[in-house]
Symmetry: C2
Subunit: 363 residues, 2 copies
């Protein structure tokens, strides 16, 4: 039952111990194996010494440097779906491989996103395309990463009954992510500002396609296929709620960018300076008086700290922090009631694990 | 038998009339159908009015504006492989769809290539990313085109016995093309010149992967799958010779850039100004005296017409035009002898059709 301040994290009961993190070292071993295989692979392309070195650097710089939450959640989900039944070493490796395919997919999109957004840093280091010897070659490196996914799937899953489903799943989610990017790019074209386009319907659509599918639905769908699931309705109910959780996750991200503590979130938020189509600005515009609206229009998207402060002032006048906290508690109730409707206890466990990882997160 | 000036075009006998071009109008109809389907498709992504308009423009600007040789050669090949047996309307459409997948693949690579090469024009119009409202968003548009291929294949080939083979074929060739691009980009990084890297072995490897697989092998492999072929050795012998033909085609392209007539090739060649790793410069460096080499090093890659003239002077001193014409005749003999070893008469016809289309081309 929710308290006044919202439910506590440990209200979410998961039968298996939360396994997040415990696979980290083995997961990294799997990365090194996959990398080695890709670089040694001469079936379709005969590498030169230089090209092999290049690919190796592209991979190490871009693939394993994130938090790896998405990748690790495949194995975490599979463990719960198998409810206690031990995974063999081979199965563990396959779950890691699928996790890495998701990390590869993300790295591919991030490389290109940073080029398009003209960004400077990513994961605490210069963006790949900012490396002097790289530049726009980075675009092709992104494409190489995308192609590695097909090669990993072919090498390790070709004989599985769910191979074709897996291929189509990755296609589908890549397409959705690219469409979300398109929507984002045409709504908020780099270098141009039109706050009148920042409306909730557009915001939700961008987030759903650009982030939620690949970050939340994809890992669970991978685990479902590996667990031998072939009931389409399981995938559909997982999709429905995980896409909602992904949306909630992005809204938190937008909230923390402004209200999170830099020491905790590990960076100083710049969504206001960067004219981001954030949940906060969308809510602010929808609620602002004409006077507040003109202060938002005059100050949003400017690097000047005084402008940023002015935007935050409007946010505070509009009580956006409370709006978020209410949304957060409501979401929790909503998620729990949908999860409890799910017939499969194993899938319930997976969904609760995801919720426990993100609910009320501070970073 | 070859004459002094090399064999004549009509030495190549093809039983079916060369059909190139005769399908052009129907091929364009198929484009409009595929485009309509992609834009109406709301199974995986729910378009907005703006996103639909955007995709429509991306497609019309980038996909159908080339010579369409690659796309049309799928149906041309299939006609020969079926040796006279009439194709149904449905089969025709499927052959067109595969042809369009190749054109989509090319458009995707060209959009990104133009960004990476900082090019200005493509097919007689400004590069897509040069459009003021596009810019680097073009990178994501390229990715969208890539994703359309999977969707076209899924929609129209899902129930075919060769669906999985087709998927893996497109994956394979995309990977090869991306690897060829990588090799090209790291050998001749944009904005940097190091002629010492321009050696024949590297040149041939770049051309093979960057161009030959998708332009020559891919259309025939598509037609082979559609014709029901499942003898892997057929694919392998087609691959072996078509990759060689693709290489020959690129060498012609490099030759024509310098020695072709601008009115005939439809553009003024700029490979020398653009520091391209062309067959001519590779041959020149391999044959130049120290004195000629230093003239090449001092003048290659400069926009100044006097520098271009100086490079061409060295080419002439080294008799590169004759070198090419000899190579061309030798290639012909070589191709014909390999083709005549092929056991399948139908595949022989296909290979001869390809050869007839490119041998001694002036544009
Ligand atoms: Mg970005
Ligand atoms: Mg972006
Ligand atoms: Mg953020
Ligand atoms: Mg180019
Ligand atoms: Mg290029
Ligand atoms: Mg050329």
């Amino acid at each position: 039952m929710a308290t006044a301040a919202g439910p506590l994290l440990n209200d979410i009961k998961i039968s298996a111990k939360p396994v997040a993190g415990s696979f980290k070292a083995k997961f990294m071993d799997a990365y090194h194996r996959l990398k080695k295989e890709l670089i040694a692979d001469s079936e379709s392309f005969s590498h030169t010494f230089e090209s092999r070195e290049w690919v190796s650097e592209v991979l190490d710089y871009n693939v394993p440097g994130g938090k790896l939450n998405r990748g690790l959640s495949v194995v975490d989900s599979l463990v719960l779906l198998r409810s206690g039944e031990e995974l063999s070493e081979d199965e563990l490796f396959l779950a890691f491989a699928l996790g890495w395919c998701i990390e590869w997919l993300q790295a591919y999109f991030l490389i290109l996103d940073d080029i398009m957004d003209d960004s400077h840093t990513r994961r605490g280091q210069p963006c790949w395309f900012r490396q002097p010897k790289v530049g726009l070659i980075a675009a092709n490196d992104g494409i190489l990463l995308r192609n590695h996914i097909s090669r990993i799937l072919k090498r390790h899953f070709h004989d599985k009954p769910y191979y074709q489903d897996l291929r189509e799943l990755f296609d589908e989610v890549e397409y959705q992510t690219a469409c979300g990017q398109m929507l984002d790019l045409i709504t908020t074209p780099p270098g141009e500002v039109d706050l009148s386009k920042y409306v909730m319907d557009t915001y939700l659509r961008i987030v759903k396609y650009k982030t939620a599918y690949y970050s939340f639905y994809l890992p669970v769908a991978c685990a479902l296929y590996m667990s031998g699931e072939d009931d389409k309705s399981k995938f559909e109910s997982a999709e429905r709620i995980l896409v909602q959780m992904g949306t909630y996750f992005q809204i938190q991200d937008d909230y923390l960018d402004c209200y999170g503590h830099p020491d905790v979130i590990g960076k100083v938020g710049t969504d206001i300076e960067d004219t981001k189509c954030s949940w906060l600005i969308v809510q602010a515009i929808a609620r602002a008086s004409p006077e507040q609206k003109s202060r938002l229009y005059n100050n949003y998207g400017r690097k000047d700290p005084a402008c940023v402060a002015e935007v935050k002032k409007v946010y505070n006048e509009l009580n956006l922090e409370k709006l978020f906290l209410d949304y957060e508690s409501e979401s929790y109730e909503n998620f729990m009631s949908i999860i409890n409707e799910e017939k499969s206890i194993e899938l319930q466990q997976v969904l609760k694990l995801f919720l426990s990882k993100i609910y009320k997160r501070q970073k």
